[in-house]
Symmetry: C2
Subunit: 230 residues, 2 copies
Amino acid sequence: MTQPKSSPNPKAELFAQFAAVAKAIAHPHRLALLEQLAQGERSVEVLADRTQLSIANASQHLQQMRRAGLVAAQRSGKFIHYRLADDAVLALLTQLRRIAERNVAEVDRVVRSYFHARDSLEPVSRADLMKRVRAGLVVVLDVRPADEFALGHVPGALNIPLSDLKRRLRELDSSKEVVAYCRGPYCVMSYEAVAALRKRGFRASRLEDGMPEWRAAGLSVETGAPERSG
Amino acid sequence: MTQPKSSPNPKAELFAQFAAVAKAIAHPHRLALLEQLAQGERSVEVLADRTQLSIANASQHLQQMRRAGLVAAQRSGKFIHYRLADDAVLALLTQLRRIAERNVAEVDRVVRSYFHARDSLEPVSRADLMKRVRAGLVVVLDVRPADEFALGHVPGALNIPLSDLKRRLRELDSSKEVVAYCRGPYCVMSYEAVAALRKRGFRASRLEDGMPEWRAAGLSVETGAPERSG
DNA sequence: TCAACATTCAATAACTCTATTGAATGATGA
DNA sequence: TCATCATTCAATAGAGTTATTGAATGTTGA
């Protein structure tokens, strides 16, 4: 990464710095890393594993984002844990998505054919979910892997990772509606969970967005490992 | 610019598209072009002139942003006018600035030494300005070039471009406070205008941000050339 | 002190982006 | 139809970015 060189013109200098921050999010792998980091802090190894990158490559991308102030790192024993620097980073990603959805035809095409095809119904809003939970009407289902669930989840949510869903259906109360969520707006897991559940006769729908947006909205978050109700 | 190649994995495909949008803002010249476009729509030639770029170079950067859906172009006679695609583009730039200000030490340094040094007082908020204007307490001064003023300005504002300020001081009512504004958060012109006015005994301060933010806040905007009260 | 391990660093080849040049396109008005 | 003008295109050299490799760093627990 190039350091924007200092210049006699303060505006040019600032634009160079802003461009450096923008460059730091301008790579598909770095966006994938940021999506993971939005779930909670993670070591390089775990991030590399989840994003299908080599460790050295993941490390380099992470350092690039650290230099740009998008993520922060902290050593803890042998591990170095990275995390998002700021809630503003999530807001930046949201803006980026919004523009791409509105103005890039290709994005609209993928979203329609891949996501809406799976769920023609409106997702449940966060406010709505809270109401229905209080009324005891729904089961909240977190379909992310157990370790992501442990880093923070919707209070009272049940954790059944998507890969386990078919063989753990009996854990769900079939008299209640199921509302599933996962990592965020473009995470397919909750779409697939809803499809699988409906096929098996459950009333199921998706929560809008995912955990990072829930957290960013200032709603309460519960941490800790799932209780396996064998 | 590379087209993100289509992929069997929809998430990878979307990340590639988002990265392409991010890349489109990730260059200092393109940020300068966007700042200009935030004032209103402009031909390639004018944009090239204002940003000190060659015409061909400006054209290429603009096309890159058009492909990413950040700007739109429209032919009008011999000229092609570019404009921001969306208010969301301004919001994206604002987020980018916010992160850079908070998390990049170098930005903080430049802002402090270059901008705050010129004006230790708080800027006037938009809401505040409206109140004071209604009470007849202030003169609103737009220090941008006349053509930018013509594309949209704060209703009732007087236009004296910074370069003309010293020789047109008599046009200002020295019994009132002057509130100056220009292109946006990192435009130095309003800072310099305030400094020049104070040196000459005026009570002067700056409006927070500039015209694009005023417009984005949904406040009313007046168009048309300035009346020269020679 | 040592081996084990997570992460980073350095070097490098393949690839991509930028600015510049001069030619091509397409609209205008004579 | 032609010359003029704004913009874009095509080619290209120079600069920057990425993934990969294998070595280096720094922490842990024996």
